[in-house]
Amino acid sequence: MTEEKKPTTPDKQIDALKAEMKKDEPGKTVSAPRAEGTVSAKPKPAGPPKPIIVEQAHDPVSEDWQKKILDVLGDKAKDSYVASGEFTIILENGSDFPGIMALIHENGFDYLSDISSVDYSKYEGTPKHFGLSYHLYSVADNHRIRVKVFLEDGETILSIMDVWATADFHEREVFDLMGIVFTGREGLRRILLPEDWIGHPLRKELSKNEGNAAYTAKLVKKAREDA
């Protein structure tokens, strides 16, 4: 193998590129400049090689305050682990869900940072279609907890607005973008998208433009009817 000298200055680089292009021009009958022929004789491997998936390490629960909260919850906590230094508890969805969350609130977690929804349908190794993550913080003790709940498609969950008033906007956003319905609360309506928007865009089965196209079509139809 001979190592080609690389041109140093930009001008020389451009010249070199031009020379390359000229070389290609006479051979226009060739469809694509691919290095085939020699390789094609070999049998192709079946599909691309499987990517190696590195998993985030899960550590066991070790600290006292974490054990204390697990003791309080008892068998209501289905699973618990620490990953990247974050303490996660997995709960089951049910009629006592706000009660369990109120129990966690009583144990010092008075600040609800965030409610996130995830569509797990294209994610390997999750029990159900959707996931909800509640990120809680204790202002006095400076601890954080993530409470996770898994939901099937169409399954509803009770609102926790009575426990943390801040859940209002978060739940409306989850409903708006992911289509998870929260029961036992007032005023669950869209917050970011227009009231008559079609679909819930953060679901994985939707591409970026589907909801948009359906909504535009609806607007056009309405405008024509009005005219």
Partner: protein, 366 residues
């Protein structure tokens, strides 16, 4: 002869005092507010959905456009989230420089807040003064990143480029002039009788309510809650530097004004210390060109100028981009404080209360 009824009034989305496209549905009894409903989403661009089809580095550009007056903080929060999931350690030089840049970003954001807040209430002069100093900081951003507002500042594992040589002198100049300028603003406002009448006992919220409503940042600290992510969970170089958390007990608009002014003073202290103690060495660790993160999830939050800015990132371990990226924008959550703060006040006070919440609609609507 006179009949009294509750009337509905629409404020925004093109109202100059709403700082963007915020629409408020006010219910009025005479001029007193009895109900209020914020209508948001006029600036919704689907940042979270877009991020799912981008690579990790491309999604950094989206974070610029969340809180576009403090994009440095957004960049930092996002990059730190990636680094937390990737488990990578950043060189000390990068940590110090990131701290410095973020605090300059906080100064520029607070200056914009001061300018517009004062302008809304009627103090025109402060607006012009504060914009002059903000320009100074934006010049520094341009020097470092090439962009004034949309900075796309940091990279996974450190900084994009080494620190420009001319920057230090520019920052030194700024540190020299800024305390005097800050004293000018204070001379114009702090003991100004009109300013005090318009802000004291306006938009009162108790500490319990503020925590329950999830308010954060200066709004929470203005109610006497000692919660600042920089102190509670120190990231970058904040743990190594000497600075105080700004807290006031007033619970009203005036207290939040004092908190932000004190934060500006503390930011300047942090900038000075970070500049003096800037370590030598690498500005970036070895990081792969195409970033792949382990399969898992991580929530990371930082103290943005508006409050707790959190990113919830889920990686499926296969792709080179986020499986799901959720942004917890402080403005979005702080907006919930608007109703309890404004009910019982006059229409003109709503303008002051929107100003004191310091919401940026790019972050509210995402």
């Amino acid at each position: 002869m006179f009949k009294s009824e509750i009337i509905e009034l629409n404020m925004g989305p093109q109202h100059p005092s709403t700082h963007g496209v915020l629409r408020l549905k006010l219910k009025l009894d005479g001029e007193t507010i009895v109900g209020l409903e914020p209508e948001i989403g006029y600036l919704h661009r689907g940042v979270e959905k877009l991020a799912e089809s981008f690579t990790y580095l491309q999604a950094l550009n989206l974070t610029d456009r969340l809180d576009y007056v403090a994009s440095i903080s957004n960049n930092l929060g996002y990059i730190e989230t990636l680094e937390k999931l990737g488990g990578i350690e950043v060189p000390r030089k990068a940590k110090y420089f990131r701290t410095l840049m973020t605090e300059l970003g906080r100064l520029s954001s607070h200056l914009l807040w001061l300018a517009t807040h004062a302008l809304d209430i009627g103090a025109m002069t402060v607006f012009l003064y504060a914009f002059r100093e903000r320009e100074f900081i934006l010049d520094m951003f341009e020097m470092v990143t090439g962009g004034r507002l949309l900075t796309t500042a940091f990279r996974y594992g450190g900084l994009k480029d080494d620190i420009p040589k001319e920057l230090e002198q520019k920052i030194r100049d700024f540190i020299k002039i800024f305390p005097g300028r800050l004293a000018d603003y204070e001379a114009l406002l702090t003991k100004n009788r009109i300013w005090m009448k318009r802000t004291k006992q306006v938009g009162v919220i108790s500490a319990e309510d503020a925590i329950n409503l999830g308010l954060s940042g200066p709004v929470l600290r203005g109610s006497g809650v000692r919660f600042d992510v920089r102190k509670a969970e120190p990231y970058e170089a904040y743990g190594e530097l000497d600075w105080e958390m700004a807290v006031e007990d007033g619970c009203d608009t005036y207290a939040r004004y004092l908190v932000r002014l004190e934060e500006m003073r503390q930011s300047l202290r942090i900038v000075e210390q970070a500049l003096d103690g800037m370590p030598e060495g690498e500005f970036r660790t070895k990081a792969p060109k195409v970033l792949k993160l382990p399969k898992g999830e991580v929530y990371h939050c930082i103290e943005a100028p508006k409050g707790e800015l959190g990113y919830y990132l889920i990686s499926d371990g296969k792709g080179t981009g986020p499986y799901r990226l959720k942004v917890r924008g402080p403005s979005f959550v702080n907006l919930q404080g608007l109703k309890p703060m404004a009910v019982g006040h006059m229409v003109a006070d709503v303008v002051a209360i929107i100003g004191t919440l310091d919401v940026v609609l790019g972050e509210v609507d995402r």
